[in-house]
């Protein structure tokens, strides 16, 4: 019942093993696996709904809606909390742990070791000076060097502007400050339907001069093997 654990579970589980995943796991803007395993139904992350599914095991993220998780524990379900992946090394470790939880150790091991060898095979482009990139999302939210997206920038051969502006995990960068810093590349995400002021910020004319790049949707919101796709996309986007 968490965006990241949903994706790890869909990668590792045997057919028929997953009773349901959360709607977030099916959100095309957040999940790299929105279309994968379409036979698995979704749930809305409410305790009542999940209890009614009578699962043997509930896998939650450690930041997943706590009241619902506590409720499920009180109701006697077996709930495992998995912390979010914070580094690329966590990806393989969490794949293996998911394999243990679902009794799919060999499949998980295969995915994890393939990820490790792919990651090791990546070469960080060694241009100097490194181009300066910034992740800029709705509301001016940016990813710092400690975040997964920040590590992706690093591996794709960029300096992260957010680090220079003092962000470590992530936070907002005011529009004026971003313009003054003159980034070489701005990485933005997809848009939701309906429209919002938060996203409209990215249409501000003052940003029109900055080159933009996208990573495959959902590829770097979680530590899954799909994050390699984000690294490759950004390496190719280098100005």
């Amino acid at each position: 019942m968490n965006l990241c654990t949903d994706q790890l579970a869909m990668l590792v589980a045997a057919p028929g093993q997953l009773v349901a995943v959360s709607e977030l796991g099916r959100d095309p803007h957040l999940s790299a696996m929105a279309e994968a395993r379409p036979e698995i139904p979704t749930h809305g992350s409410q305790a009542e709904e999940i209890f009614a599914l009578r699962p043997d095991l509930v896998i939650a993220g450690s930041f997943t809606a706590r009241p619902a998780v506590e409720m499920l524990k009180r109701l006697g379900l077996r709930v495992v909390d998995m912390p979010p992946e914070q580094t690329l090394d966590d990806v393989a470790a969490h794949l293996r742990e998911m394999g243990r939880l679902l009794g799919q150790e060999s499949r998980a091991e295969e995915l994890a070791s393939r990820f490790e060898s792919d990651l090791a095979a990546l070469t960080v482009p060694a241009a100097t000076p490194r181009p300066q990139a910034v992740v800029y999302g709705p509301n001016g939210y940016s990813a710092g060097p400690n975040s997964l997206a920040g590590q992706v920038l690093e591996l794709a051969g960029y300096d992260n502007l957010a680090a220079k502006l003092g962000l470590s995990w992530g936070g907002q960068i005011p529009l004026e400050r971003l313009i003054m810093a003159e980034p070489d590349l701005m990485i933005t995400g997809g848009r939701y339907a309906g429209g919002s002021r938060s996203e409209a910020l990215l249409d501000h004319p003052a940003l029109s001069a900055i080159p933009r790049a996208r990573v495959p949707e959902g590829s770097w919101s979680c530590g899954t093997p799909y994050i390699l796709g984000a690294i490759r996309a950004l390496s190719e986007a280098r100005p």
Partner: protein, 327 residues
């Protein structure tokens, strides 16, 4: 005194306009930033022209609109509590704006955004005038305002909650409190035509409002048609408040505070109060927008917060003073 008032207010607006241009996240000197505004092609020029200039211009335009609308409504209803924010016109305009954004209409035709806000604002003005009656008794006026703003506010929240966009829900705050941050010239251009029409309509009301101070019968005897005035007031207020709200959210209390502060200086003549109140509104909105950037530069403090801190105590004071009349 009265003769000097308008030039003095205009000077104040000009000074605050320059202050608004030179205050922001990017530290830059007065001369440096003003030079960049004209000729700078570096990032500072971009910041000045594309971020600060539209923000300052919108501050002036919105202040003019809200100050003028407040003075006109108070003159027509002869009630110091009549104000677009309090009687729910701003909330209704916000509902129109939110609907046009969420239905995707404003993305297709940008002018639909202020037009929808205008439409809903006109409905609200009409409703409030109808409920308050020609004399605009305080109790009926306030009750009508509460009803209209509660309904419009609830519907705005509902629309934003139902939006497929996960960010929309968080923007309830913006639509209820208003902010000028990160607006661009796009917003200036879509708001300006509606505002100009609104200013034109409301400024023609001056003579009629003066006549109305003598009572409705006397005004009609002087050749003033209250019915025509009412129509002009509805359209003018809706155009001003609708356009302002469509680009900056509902900013309350401007039309309450400013006419109150300036009424004595113009000798309580509604026709003189209209332009004075417009300039005063511009000064107040600019000052408040400078204040939100000075006090907590790293947070997007909403303009409505500052306005309410200034406006709410005055509102309470006015209610206390009119208690004798309503009870």
């Amino acid at each position: 005194m009265t003769r000097l008032l308008l030039p003095a207010l205009a000077l104040l607006v000009a000074l605050l306009f320059v202050a608004s241009l030179t205050i922001g996240y990017t530290p830059a000197g007065l001369g440096e930033s003003l030079a960049a505004l004209g000729t700078g092609d570096g990032p500072l020029g971009l910041v000045m022209r594309e971020i600060r200039l539209p923000r300052a211009l919108l501050g002036v335009m919105i202040g003019l609109s809200l100050g003028l609308a407040g003075a006109a409504m108070q003159g027509y209803l002869r009630n110091p509590l009549a104000e677009p924010g309090i009687v729910g016109i701003s909330s209704a305009a916000a509902l129109g704006a939110v609907l046009s954004i969420q239905l995707g209409l404003s993305a297709a035709f940008p002018l639909i955004l202020p037009a929808a806000a205008l439409g809903f604002a006109a409905l609200a003005v009409g409703l409030v005038l109808m409920l308050a009656g020609p004399r605009g008794g305080s109790i009926t006026l306030i009750l009508a305002g509460i009803a209209v703003s509660a309904l419009a506010g609830a519907l705005t929240s509902l629309v934003l909650n139902l939006s497929p966009n996960p960010y929309a829900t968080y923007e309830i705050v913006f639509w209820m409190l208003g902010s000028l941050s990160d607006r661009s010239f796009t917003h200036v251009w879509i708001a300006l035509p509606f505002m100009v029409v609104g200013w034109g309509l409301l400024l023609t009301l001056g003579r009629g409002l003066d006549a109305l101070t003598l009572g409705e019968d006397a005004a009609e005897a002087m050749g003033v048609s209250p019915r025509r005035m009412r129509l002009l007031l509805v359209l003018g207020t809706a155009a001003c408040v609708g356009a302002a709200t469509a680009v900056a959210g509902a900013i309350g209390f401007v039309g309450l505070v400013v006419p109150h502060l300036l009424r004595r200086a113009v000798g309580a003549r509604p026709s003189a109060l209209l332009p004075a109140s417009a300039l005063g509104g511009a000064a107040l909105v600019l000052a408040a927008d400078v204040a939100v950037r000075l006090v907590v530069p790293d947070r997007d403090l909403k303009l409505g917060v500052v306005m309410a801190l200034i406006g709410a105590p005055l509102f309470l004071h006015l209610i206390r003073r009119t208690r004798g009349e309503v009870l």
